[in-house]
Symmetry: C2
Subunit: 318 residues, 2 copies
Amino acid sequence: MGEFELIERYFKRPVTRNALGIGDDCALLSPAPGMQLAVSCDMLVEGNHFLSTVDPCKLGHKALAVNLSDLAACGARPLAFTLALAMPVADEAWLAPFSRGLFALADEHRCELVGGDTTRGPLNICITVFGEVPQGQALLRSGARAGEDIYVSGTLGDARLALEVFRGTLSVPAEVFEAARSRMEQPTPRVALGQALLGIASSAIDVSDGLLGDLGHILQQSQVGARVDTDIAAGLMGAPAGSLAADLRLEYVLAGGDDYELLFTAPPARRDAVKAAALAAGTPVTRIGQIEAEPGLRLMSGAGRLIDRRFASFDHFA
Amino acid sequence: MGEFELIERYFKRPVTRNALGIGDDCALLSPAPGMQLAVSCDMLVEGNHFLSTVDPCKLGHKALAVNLSDLAACGARPLAFTLALAMPVADEAWLAPFSRGLFALADEHRCELVGGDTTRGPLNICITVFGEVPQGQALLRSGARAGEDIYVSGTLGDARLALEVFRGTLSVPAEVFEAARSRMEQPTPRVALGQALLGIASSAIDVSDGLLGDLGHILQQSQVGARVDTDIAAGLMGAPAGSLAADLRLEYVLAGGDDYELLFTAPPARRDAVKAAALAAGTPVTRIGQIEAEPGLRLMSGAGRLIDRRFASFDHFA
């Protein structure tokens, strides 16, 4: 199977929402009047972002999901994406399920594949995703102000739990592992929530490197500090309380990585609006702390005790 | 050196032409009113698109050049790009010259780095480039009509000559090799010519897989055929006539690959306009044949003799 046949068979589909799709030197995009184009790009490498044993269908889902999660964090509506794919060989047994998983998620979000590149090389998946957001309204990392609430969507730490089981450092009951594994392999980008939070949230980021590390980005770019309630945070894990030690639980929630939930801030006056947005998007959100004027990130128990512990954020070169 | 320090040190620069650059979940782009966004994406893999011994500065140039060439083929003006980079280690001795070469070409075209991803893995460079083009005016592969002239810019076949010297299948004088090597390692994207041809050319493509293969894409999408003059084509090589056999010369010109010249069509009534566009862009163009109603691609000698020879187009999985 040659390069052009591969594209024709697995990746070329009629493009309806954009001006021009696969098959020319460029794709052409026309954002609606008054809209800005939001662009994000993520590269997934075997052995680093996924295991060689992963189901290609789930990998197709995840490769797009992590990119859609970046659009969600800006409150953008997905429009289109490009896919660059390096593979050792053009293997149909891999390509068929990969493209199936990819397009299933793309269709769910009406996000069209408009271009890309395929080439021979060590397995590498690079997706660039495009969304639109009303001019000047995108949710940024720099908008958090002292006194605002800090929220996170869904559950945290389960992807890390699954990774540690794969690594052999942890053992949990089979049903706990399966649920966690699904979170790791097929994360749900919070696209509807991101859009619902436009005009409500003051800042947002997606949690991909760990809650504390990503909150750190908001604090840095907003030039503020924060207090996070560790009792509330510890309750954010999907895996049942008895399935692992309390300190590991807190570590996975605060610094697990690969969660793809939204972390955002909003003024206390907008608590009802945040609740309504979460309800409309069908995504639970939890208030976990507060933005403070004093720089730094403070972990407090529910009783108000300061917790002195360091958690490393995920770094691809550390 | 960690992931964030690496980005900060080598890739973060102030962004002036776009709404938001590196450092948030998405970059924000605002095409001017009446403009469409042209998007293209190319992935470069070590051993396939470049040799491990290549000067990183030249590689930085080439990685962006091959993407700008796609914008040129649509007549789009460069705006911005994203860079996803996988490297085995964060090596400063590689990153410093790579980013220098990359930004030198980016600055030349006022094309700003607005986002991306860095990760550990086998060396892989994936760039997605954005340009703008007036609504409905992009040069496409589908616009060629019978009776139109076929043109190509610059010179062809020299990159292939250099590759064959590297492969050890060919030996040429040192000065011929150096000139050809420079064409292979630092191609010049024909950005000004592409824009100058808006409203003049009826179709265009960039020559990356070989002249005949890329002309084939125009013929297929325009549903036409073509005749190409092999005597004129043979004169398109930069390397002097005596430096290699005539049949190799013709093969490298017609099916060499890695040229990044523009191949385009225009009505005979626009010959003066094509000349003026080439002059304005400072890029020579040569008329090499004609579009015909009869499907298929015919190679003719200057004397009108049909040449019966097959040339394989470059295919990354063949």
